[in-house]
Symmetry: C2
Subunit: 328 residues, 2 copies
């Protein structure tokens, strides 16, 4: 591994050269980008194809990540490595064989569910959570085998705990915060945080205002205090960043994230009929270019340089080094 | 409505002119046929297209059923009406709008799940059952609206009870038996049977050996005794036939029913590694041509002619008359 790394564990921008230039301005060495919320197999292939074009057109700014070493190569060449991931298992549909197919297409991280019940387990917005399904156990075994990271950011509590327990390899919560910082089911309980840490997993702190103590008014100091408290629970080596930045996305995309194709009546998710739009941006994280502000916040909170490095990217790098490799 | 009707509430044959000729030999006026176990939207469209060809090629033997009156037309013209149905919600994928699309394509009955957890609810082979999902409630409302019958034959207990409760229109268990006759989770508890009857629903008796008291050795007398006991619980007007005949299907199809695309290890479902094949056929129901044997069995058990007529088809006809109509 090389110098200090900056890695963002979750973004879903309205991708453009401008955003990739912001990533470079922030010296982001890798970003985990979302390629699916509700898409099926064919639709994900379209999205992957669109990434192929972006890798061609913006080869001076970004490059695909297949192994963790590609992140070092990205850094060495002054580019941002793009780690493709899914916020839902919808693209594998009901087909266990699609796990290895999408791994071959460089999909390296997959959430087991997005808000709603999936074929694998349960999302956090359901009233009831039955844990892992029969297919769900098969899927986790297969993800473990091929080296696709299990992500439970939008997964309900019981399903998350069962996934951590059932998975033979460490899992992640790529983007969420402690429920002690903000009591929403979208954030994670101390029980989940401890189980995640004990299993060698990783949680990335979200900067999405609905996940933060004071919403869009949350200060960088409050954010850094949240980090410090989580470090007490999980240990600094199990924490990282997953900003959940959805840069330049119109409200229609937010509505689609919430409603997909599944409802005839509007579902407002974390918003409401009175506040259906994106929350106001944080002053200290209006876009990818502001990523280094997090570093300044952590430094100001008193984290040692080695801790700041771990949180800002080192932990993701170490985790992915093992996690992206196929088994045996 | 016309004369006595014979309706089979579930078959999945390896469709051929020979089977349609057996249906005619049995004077079957309508058969609910399965067009999906695991198929997605596109694959169901292929299966529906195959039915279009069958309707053309065997127009002297079969015809499509769009409304219950088509069953009378089938009878009057000496043909068997084909009611298309699904044993899984997989073809609507995650899209609420596909319910009305498939209704327009004459899909009139849909199971909410097949053995495993679906996006709608839970199948009977899962360890845990969280009931209806958020999407599941949307789907039932939409099925109620367009006139697509909710079927919970392979659905787990809690999900079945919640579907009966949540649906504004009566639901069916197209093919299953009382658990008192054979204690398998694939059969239905007295609690489900009573809730089904109270809501105006219908249960069709299965002749699949794994659902019967003595397996393939079950006699017609034992079958008829099972019917009589269920009549005591539900009332004769809520019971019918759904043979679950899978005529001329090779073992590969059985294996596909059980495994779909979801497992890398073989799942034997109701069978076992020692007995992976189809169960031996019942002596008194080797194929569709034997359907009238059920009538003889019920007569011998002492059912009145009006009761026999209700069980053999009258109840399905009455139920579908209302159930297939769109609402308001």
């Amino acid at each position: 591994m090389g110098a200090q790394l900056r890695i963002d564990g979750l973004q879903y921008g309205n991708w453009s050269r401008a955003i990739f230039e912001e990533m470079r301005a922030a010296k982001l060495d890798a970003v985990h980008v979302t390629a699916t919320y509700w898409e099926n197999a064919r639709e994900l292939m379209r999205n992957i194809g669109a990434w192929h074009r972006r890798f061609e057109e913006h080869a001076d700014l970004i490059m695909p990540v297949r192994t963790a070493a590609d992140i070092d190569r990205a850094q060495a060449s002054g580019r941002t490595g793009i780690i493709l991931g899914l916020q839902n298992c919808s693209p594998i549909e009901d087909s266990i064989d699609l796990v290895s197919v999408f791994k071959q297409l460089d999909v390296h991280i997959m959430q087991l569910s997005y808000n709603n019940q999936s074929l694998v387990c349960c999302g956090y917005l359901e009233d009831e959570d039955a844990g892992l399904s029969r297919f769900g156990r098969e899927v986790i075994r297969e993800m473990n085998r091929v080296g696709m990271v299990v992500d439970t950011s939008h997964t309900a509590e019981r399903s998350t705990l069962e996934a951590i327990e059932y998975s033979s390899r460490p899992t992640v919560v790529s983007h969420a915060n402690p429920q002690s910082a903000r009591a929403t089911p979208r954030n994670k309980s101390e029980r989940v945080m401890r189980a995640l840490a004990e299993s060698g997993g990783l949680m990335g702190f979200s900067c999405y205002p609905f996940h933060l103590p004071q919403g869009a008014d949350t200060t960088l100091e409050q954010f850094s205090e949240m980090v410090a408290q989580a470090v007490d629970v999980m240990g600094v080596e199990h924490l990282a960043i997953g900003t959940d930045l959805c840069q330049d996305q119109p409200v229609e995309v937010l509505s689609w994230m919430r409603n997909g194709n599944w409802a005839r009546v509007m579902d407002y998710g974390e918003g409401s009929a009175e506040q259906p739009d994106w929350p106001a941006p944080l002053e200290w994280l209006r876009g990818a270019a502001d990523f280094p502000n997090l570093e300044r916040g952590l430094e100001a909170r008193g984290f040692a340089p080695s801790e700041v490095d771990a949180l800002m990217g080192g932990n993701w790098r170490r985790f992915l080094d093992e996690a992206l490799q196929p088994q045996g």
